[in-house]
Symmetry: C2
């Protein structure tokens, strides 16, 4: 059995916590187990180091930033190795380079190109717990690179894939993935198993446990992921292939996204090329358009509604100014909206999910402003003041608390 464990910044926040992580790792140390551990920097350390760099320049050289930031994980990995050694175990720390993690040269947001596992495999077979500094690799020049936000998770998943690990456990300060945000719905339940695709839909909606990059990589490499808490013994949530989940619930979870704004273009000329011009210009400016609804044309004019990130609204307004003013009537903007999404692979083979959504919201007199659907997801746009109520009523309607 080959196990990859990853511990985040709060889990290794000070020497005492590192000691507790060592004790937790020790629980997994058995003769038939090979263990690779990936660690983040001690919480606060990366910000402190970045603060130093920003003292000189608001946009410091990314190569130098990587040299600075990568030191945090190196320190944690060596401290954890010492902690395990003190407990009598064979342990050794490896930098990203030592671990054979080769990346491209996009400093501060590098991509892993390949992993040479020779040294890790040798060490595992000698009985070492191998502790790898997360978040970092080395490029072809031999310069250290970092992988961007959530980089240590990515290191862990990539290593699990390269080593053909049986399991990749991501330890954080959260118990796992929940049916919805427990701060909104106190009856939210921890999900035991969830498919990669469901997790991707939930993560992009704001489930903060794992970034999509890591889930996507796990899916691509077929790595079984578990996300669980460093500070409890609960088993966490397994994220795996759809086929591995025997009983597939219709709905796995409900996500909330309050970061979208709605753009309503009224009486847009219904002729080829206009929509493509609008969305083309938004794409050029890297503005991500999410939900799109177009009404049927009437009198040669149509209404076009879509959502974009709130943070991009001002940029989008400038783009709309550059459009031919004859091609549409007027534009309205709405910041006070929320997107509520219900996610579940079971939806594929069940009809009536959408009508149940409409029914639950109608019962609470919540108006649905837009709808979009995919194979495993239904998203509705509602007035932001009904966001929490929508979540709670859907959670109840689909019996997610059972």
């Amino acid at each position: 059995m080959l196990l990859v464990q990853k511990y985040g910044g709060t889990s290794v926040g000070d020497p005492e916590r590192i000691n507790r992580v060592a004790q937790r790792i020790a629980l997994s140390i058995k003769p038939e187990h090979h263990i690779v551990v990936v660690v983040s920097a001690m919480s606060g350390e990366t910000d402190k180091l970045l603060g130093y760099a920003l003292h000189f320049d608001a946009l410091p050289d990314p190569r130098e930033v990587d040299m600075i930031l990568s030191s945090g994980e190196r320190v944690t990995s060596a401290l954890l190795a010492i902690a395990l050694q003190t407990m009598g175990y064979k342990a050794i720390s490896l930098s990203g380079r030592n671990a054979g993690i080769y990346t491209d040269s996009q400093h501060t947001k590098a991509h892993i190109e390949y992993i040479d596992t020779t040294r890790i495999n040798k060490l595992l077979h000698k009985g070492f717990v191998v502790i790898v500094a997360g978040f970092q690799g080395v490029n072809e020049k031999g310069d250290v690179t970092t992988l961007g936000r959530g980089g240590s998770d990515l290191s862990a998943v990539a290593l699990a894939g390269a080593l053909n690990a049986d399991l990749c456990e991501i330890y954080t300060d959260v118990e796992g993935v929940f049916t919805t945000d427990p701060r909104i719905e106190p009856n939210a339940k921890k999900i035991d198993k969830i498919s990669y695709d469901e997790m991707l839909e939930l993560a992009s909606m704001g489930a903060k446990v794992l970034l999509n990059r890591s889930v996507e990589l796990a899916k691509k490499l077929g790595v079984k992921l578990i996300t669980r808490s460093t500070f409890s013994d609960n088993p966490g949530t397994l994220i795996t292939k759809e086929e591995d989940i025997m009983e597939q619930p219709i709905i796995s979870g409900i996500a909330l996204d309050k970061n979208q704004a709605r753009v309503s273009m009224v009486e847009v000329k219904d002729q080829p090329g206009i929509a493509s011009e609008i969305f083309g210009k938004l794409a050029e400016a890297n503005i991500n358009v999410d939900m799109i609804v177009q009404t049927l044309a009437y009198n040669g004019r149509t209404d076009l509604d879509f959502t974009i990130p709130k943070t991009e609204l001002e940029l989008a307004k400038n783009i709309f100014k550059s459009l031919d003013s004859d091609s549409f009537g007027k534009i309205e903007y709405d910041n006070d909206i929320a997107k509520v999404s219900i996610v579940g692979v079971g939806m594929k083979s069940h009809t009536g999910v959408a009508s149940k959504v409409f029914g639950a919201l109608a019962k609470e007199h919540i108006n649905i402003m837009m709808i979009s659907t995919s194979e495993i997801k239904i998203s509705v746009l509602v007035d932001i003041k009904y966001a929490e109520l929508s979540i709670r009523s859907l959670h109840r309607a689909f019996e997610l608390d059972k």
Copy 2:
């Protein structure tokens, strides 16, 4: 002109100081200059990191300690590169590995085996100020190593040698090498030039500017060293080959060592093998014997006086207990002694130096307990209460204040 500059921990103690170091480096940036800078960790950083490691174990694995400690210099080197870039200069940081510094595998006290200067030379010819993380290298396994106390000085000197630099400037918080400790003799003068051998004698006596390892390496590689202050424009002290110093003063400086203890073995059997047994056992215990005086034998017995470091006195006492008690009369110990040494290459060709020393001390009624001489040094052991007076009277007798 190729210049290597090294800045110590207090010189780069915080971002503001790093900025001042960048400004100082900028003064040396000229089209015809190639500049390599070696930096230490920010002052306090190494102790903080070591403190983390010692939290787990009083004797942590040296390999892991190196992984931890080496991060400090990496951070400083990248911050300094950013500071110079912000000022508009081309600058790049290199870890010890990036700089091609290969060492043996004696973690925490590694020796530099060779330096592959390919990358540094390329960067210099592209016009970069190359900033190297001091104190560290990499062994044949690809693991980071550190060079022990004074390791960044050593990095600088070794790089200067490998690059055939014209000059190696060591920047500290001290103006240079003084004729004696200015806290004892306010008329002490900064020495403009001094030979490697004189510096070695002065350093081992307590001149804290440079550790002997670095001076020895500079001598071996023929590297011209300058030690000077980061915080002033004074030119500092040049440490170079004897032949490069045109006017060689008889005496360059006076050093004080209060860390020795005297051991007096009375009525030691004057027969072959006894002294060798005593000094052999001390050597086995790694106790460094410094001055040794043996009186002429009388009645088959002789007196043997020598000095050892105060810190080793208890260990030595245990060793003496294991000696055959018939072989000597008694042993006395004296902690309250000081060794005063006058150093100068001019001594080689001048007679009368010793008598001048005796005369100066006799005038102050200072009793000389032991004497030892080398080609360029005369050391006298005196009662510790006369240590400062001895220094001042010798400083005046040899007109070092002129």
